[in-house]
């Protein structure tokens, strides 16, 4: 019997680590992976609340989040390939065309 709050706190910790990775990383692929980590943390909270409320809506939401993450990964990696081809670099600091 694991309390739901344990799962939700773990989810918060994983989300925080994802945010730190998002800010800290300079490689565009690593930044994209930290977004996936944040999505996973949210999924954990969804499933935990779904189990605690005995309501399966949360698990179906997780399914939709996973589908959207798959679509996002396909498009995002296409964009990354385009950036790597045009800039010869994966560093986000070098992608500053819109910077003032």
């Amino acid at each position: 019997m694991v309390p739901t709050s344990y799962y939700v706190i773990l989810s918060a910790v994983l989300f925080g680590l994802g945010v730190i990775a998002f800010i800290f990383k300079r490689n565009i692929i690593s930044i994209f992976m930290s977004i996936e980590l944040m999505l996973n943390a949210v999924n954990l909270a969804f499933v935990a609340f779904s189990q605690s409320k005995d309501n399966l809506d949360g698990q179906i939401f997780v399914l939709f989040v996973i589908i959207v993450a798959a679509a996002e990964a396909a498009v995002g990696l296409g964009i990354i390939i385009l950036i790597a081809r045009n800039r010869q670099s994966l560093n986000v600091e070098r992608v500053d065309l819109l910077k003032l």
Binding site: M1, V2, P3, T4, S5, Y6, Y7, V8, I9, L10, A12, V13, L14, F15, G16, G18, V19, I20, A21, I23, F24, K25, R26, N27, I29, S30, M33, S34, E36, L37, N40, N43, L44, V47, A48, F49, S50, Q51, S52, D54, L56, Q59, V62, L63, F64, I66, I67, A70, A71, A73, A74, V75, L77, G78, I80, I81, L90, N91, E93, R94
Partner: protein, 166 residues
């Protein structure tokens, strides 16, 4: 300490160590492998909660398809160790304290709310996968069909983006 609590702590520690490794590794391929560890640990947690369908989808779609795509792109682009430019000092100084503060705020809000504290149900209802499939094709049939359209658009977008211009 019940065996379930022990399994929870082992898997939670695995997930947190994997995420820390994702941050600390310099090479993107090592970050990707750390992320796979996190995803497998989360799949174990879903099994512990009795959400076996979500656990299977997590392994197949996240651990399988998405991470293979990531590793494939890392190898295709021959991504090396990330270089450290000093264009943005603010991210290095403010990033970690702000992230820890965010985690603390969320965790404190959860710990204080009495609503979330009551014990989790043991789960493990055998019929839950059957119930999920019934719900997907009855109540959630429109969103479900929309996701197939979304996948189609994503495939076309990826092809258009990645093709070499003539």
């Amino acid at each position: 300490m019940t065996p379930q609590l022990l399994i929870f702590f082992v898997l939670a520690a695995l997930a947190v160590v994997g995420s820390l490794s994702l941050i600390l590794q310099k090479h993107p391929i090592h970050s990707a492998l750390s992320l796979i560890v996190v995803m497998v640990a989360l799949a174990g947690l879903y099994l512990l909660m009795g959400a076996e369908f979500v656990a299977a989808v997590q392994i197949i779609v996240y651990g399988g398809a998405i991470m293979v795509l990531f590793v494939f792109v890392i190898m295709l682009l021959n991504a090396g160790i990330e270089e450290h430019t000093n264009f943005s000092k603010l991210a290095g100084y403010a990033g970690v304290p702000l992230g820890i503060a965010l985690t603390g705020f969320i965790a404190a809000a959860i710990a204080r709310s009495t609503d979330a504290v009551h014990a989790a149900t043991t789960g493990g209802t055998i019929a839950s996968t059957r119930q999920i499939s019934t719900m997907i094709f009855k109540e959630f049939v429109y969103p479900f069909e929309l996701t197939s359209f979304l996948i189609l658009v994503a495939i076309m977008g990826a092809i258009v983006l990645a093709q070499r211009e003539k």
